[in-house]
């Protein structure tokens, strides 16, 4: 169980700047830290830089022609900037990408098995992890022989998370798990994230647009806006913060306000 008083930082991102294709500046000095055994939420709208932040940690950035030009990223104290994604997976950091990215022409079970690609252990250990994943996601056990491309969005999200679990990770970078899912499914997925966090002791860094759900499950949060962290703090405080309520939860002091009012108000009042 996560103890907010007694924490140990596993991941430390300090002041990173990310440039795509040598031209486009996406992150301008993002700093954040992830505590061991906690759920950290990274919030913000489209294009705020959430995915880019996650990709600079998992080092998937380079294959998209992006580069961390300034700042540093440390995992368990080691500088990880020059490692490749496979090294990161071996160190226990794995990303679940936005939009699931299942291998469509592989079966659900084959998808899960690819998650064990970097593992050295024998067949028995992998089988054990498979059982673990099926216990968390019983639905995947039923669908294990079907091609992942033919399963539903929720099942694909479960497959993607299960696949990451197969690498026996210490930290999962979860990018927008709620995308395109029905509210009920979103709750279901987040419940499982919570269980994995508590029972398997997996730390999460969670990028979400769905601020409401994310802050309900996270221990602390960061809010990104155009490549900068504009606010951070324990999830409880963020939930109560009037600005967050106004801009991200769509509520005003008098309760829910309409979208139109929110927008006009936003133009006048900005952070920074």
């Amino acid at each position: 169980m996560f103890d907010e008083k007694n924490t140990e930082t596993v991941l430390e991102v300090s002041n990173i700047e990310v440039v795509y294709n040598n031209i486009i500046l996406v992150l301008r000095g993002v700093s954040l830290s992830v505590e061991k055994g906690g759920i950290t939420a990274l919030l913000g709208g489209n294009g705020a830089g959430k995915s880019t932040t996650l990709k600079s940690i998992s080092n998937l950035l380079r294959s998209e022609r992006g580069e961390v030009t300034k700042g540093s990223i440390a995992y368990n104290g080691d500088n990880i900037k020059d490692l490749n994604p496979a090294d990161m997976v071996r160190r226990g950091v794995i990303q679940v990408m936005e939009g699931r990215h299942c291998f469509e022409h592989l079966t659900v079970e084959e998808n899960l098995l690819t998650g064990a690609y970097t593992r050295k252990g024998g067949r028995a250990e992998v089988q054990e992890s498979l059982e673990l994943v099926y216990n968390y996601f019983p639905r995947l056990r039923e669908r294990r022989k079907s091609l992942a491309g033919y399963t539903s969005g929720g099942e694909q999200q479960m497959t993607a998370i299960g696949r990451a679990l197969m690498s026996v990770p210490e930290t999962i970078l979860l990018d927008e798990p709620s995308m395109g899912l029905a509210p009920q499914l979103v709750e279901e997925i987040f419940e499982i994230v919570k269980q994995l966090n508590e029972k398997e002791n997996v730390s999460f860094l969670l990028a979400e647009q769905n601020t409401n759900v994310a802050l309900k499950y996270a221990h602390k949060g960061y809010i990104l806006e155009s490549g900068r962290v504009v606010m951070d703090g324990p999830a409880k405080e963020l939930r109560e913060n009037p600005d967050v309520k106004e801009f991200y939860l769509g509520m005003s002091e008098e309760g829910r306000s309409s979208f139109k009012e929110t927008r006009s108000y936003r133009r006048r009042k900005r952070w920074l």
């Binding site: 994604p85 022409h105 084959e110 690819t114 998650g115 091609l147 033919y150």
Partner: protein, 318 residues
């Protein structure tokens, strides 16, 4: 009427009249088909793993065959020569990954395709410079493959089986079977299919693209060596083998670019089809229809079933 009879009736009457000749044609076509299938498999593996249509596969076959013969001519034991060629193929796979693929990652498929054309000409130049361009004969006898032929009485006549053809069929089909199992059952095979489906996701679970690329190019090199050995034994070891290697292209169009069974079936269709067509319809068209028959079939497929017989199912959820 005369011409219709020539096209639609006479050939079939001939088949029935001389069943031994027909069977001979089928056998020859089958041998060719198996070897086409093997070569096509080399293309399929690289296409699946890196999305590159590897134009240099045929020249790899020439290179492997030429190198094998040349090493032997230098006085090296034939089996050690085989090992050396494998080493050369591995070095090439490694080099291609380092120099070309790694630097062109995430580029458009056409750019990668062009780079393999470039690679083809580099290999042609280098091979001519190092090994010379004179046609030579394959060293299959020295490698212990049986030579000569047997005549089996059949259908009131006789069918000839070249021993080297029997070896070719056996070796090529076992290699195809091994590759098919490797592809569908092993961890690396699974990784390879994962890369084919989604580069980024494969990276995210820790599959090393660079490692996968070296493996598939090396496998393509092994396929090239086996192909070169047997095509070289059937004709000469020369740069003309490249034309034969390119026939894997229509095979792929028929079978589908991403399908292992497709490569096998496509290879057999082309091998059998062109042989039978050559024997029964060739004479009325002035002979040597074998050269273009495959491409005409491929064109028909492109018009009516462009994804091929077993091409990637386009998954659509509604």
């Amino acid at each position: 009427m005369e011409i219709l009879h020539m096209i639609f009736i006479a050939p079939f009457l001939d088949m029935v009249a001389l069943p031994d000749l027909f069977f001979q044609g089928l056998w020859d076509g089958f041998v060719g088909g198996t070897l086409y299938a093997l070569l096509a498999l080399g293309f399929v593996l690289i296409f699946k793993a890196s999305g590159v249509f590897n134009f240099s596969q045929p020249i790899l076959m020439v290179l492997a065959a030429l190198a094998l013969v040349s090493f032997y001519e230098m006085g090296i034991n034939p089996w050690i020569s085989v090992a050396l060629v494998l080493l050369l193929m591995y070095a090439l796979a490694f080099g291609v990954e380092r120099v070309i693929l790694r630097n062109l990652v995430n580029q458009d498929g056409n750019i990668l395709f062009m780079s393999t054309i470039g690679l083809t000409f580099v290999i042609i130049g280098a091979a001519q410079w190092i090994f010379g361009g004179v046609p030579r004969s394959m060293i299959h006898a020295e490698l212990g493959f049986p030579v000569g032929s047997s005549e089996w009485p059949m259908f009131g006549g006789a069918v000839y089986f070249e021993h080297i053809d029997i070896s070719a069929v056996v070796l090529a089909s076992s290699l195809i079977a091994i590759l098919a199992v490797f592809f569908s059952k092993t961890k690396i095979g699974r990784g390879l299919r994962a890369v084919a489906d989604d580069h980024q996701a494969a990276l995210s679970v820790g599959i090393s693209l660079n490692q996968i690329w070296v493996i598939v190019w090396f496998v393509a090199g092994i396929v090239a060596l086996v192909g070169g050995l047997f095509w070289g034994a059937r004709s000469d070891v020369s740069f003309a083998l490249q034309i034969i290697g390119l026939k894997a292209l229509p095979v792929l169009i028929i079978g589908g670019f991403t399908s292992v069974p497709g490569a096998i079936i496509g290879g057999l269709i082309i091998g059998l089809g062109e042989k039978i067509f050559e024997i029964y319809w060739g004479p009325m068209m002035g002979g040597s229809v074998e050269g273009w028959f495959a491409y005409v079939i491929a064109l028909v497929f492109l018009l009516f079933k462009p994804q091929g017989l077993f091409g990637e199912k386009i998954i659509e959820r509604v």
